[in-house]
């Protein structure tokens, strides 16, 4: 069961960042960015806010509850 729907990949690509570049900006591993994008790992509130701030979007633009 998917707990979260992630649009992280789309926004990351729109910002012109690789997974590694985004990972470095928010101080996590590239693997974590990968698993968040694929909906395998649910990020904490803090990491979600960091990602949103880094990409210049709202948290709700990155993550939604599944319908």
């Amino acid at each position: 069961m998917t707990l979260l729907r992630a649009n992280l990949k789309e926004h990351r690509k729109r910002a012109g960042l690789t997974q590694a570049e985004l990972a470095e900006k928010v101080e996590v591993s590239r693997k974590t960015i990968n698993t968040v994008e694929n909906g395998i790992f649910v990020p904490s509130t803090v990491l979600s806010l960091k990602l949103a701030r880094c990409l210049g979007v709202a948290v709700e633009d990155l993550f939604q509850l599944p319908d």
């Binding site: 590694a20 990972a23 996590v28 591993s29 693997k31 974590t32 990020p43 990491l47």
Partner: protein, 133 residues
């Protein structure tokens, strides 16, 4: 590309599991487990921790990515796995010692090996599944 701290952690875990596997193979070849074997495995675990500490000091920028929230979650999972492995292992070995010629002392040493090896095994699998480091 994994960072050096994550690589050090993975290497330490692999070496420890390799020692456990070697000990298991030796057991099947007729070598009885002895305190020395457990001390060697414990020393490997300790050296792995020291190596990680040294790398952390040399490359502090590697700390946050290597211990990000996903790695911490996997690490917590490794302790849970270690607990249940040791608990099941204890009862299995205890009951086996009751119905066989196996000495309780040997069972005690094997529980120690399970306690040290299970978390490392979990972290190795988590790393290769992309859930750590």
């Amino acid at each position: 590309m994994m960072n050096l701290l994550a690589i050090t952690r993975l290497t330490g875990n692999i070496l420890l599991i390799a020692a456990v596997l070697l000990l298991t193979i030796m057991m099947f070849w007729g070598t009885a487990i002895a305190p020395f074997h457990v001390i060697v495995i414990g020393a490997l675990a300790l050296l792995g921790g020291v190596a990680q500490f040294m790398v952390s000091v040399m490359r502090p920028r590697d700390i946050k990515p290597a211990w990000d929230e996903q790695s911490v979650a996997s690490h917590r999972g490794s302790y849970q796995f270690g607990y249940w492995s040791a608990l099941i292992g204890f009862w299995a070995l205890f009951l086996y010692s009751r119905v066989s010629n196996t000495e309780v002392d040997s069972s005690f040493l094997w529980v120690g090996v399970i306690l040290m090896g299970a978390p490392s095994l979990w972290m190795i699998i988590a790393t290769f599944l992309g859930r750590a480091g």
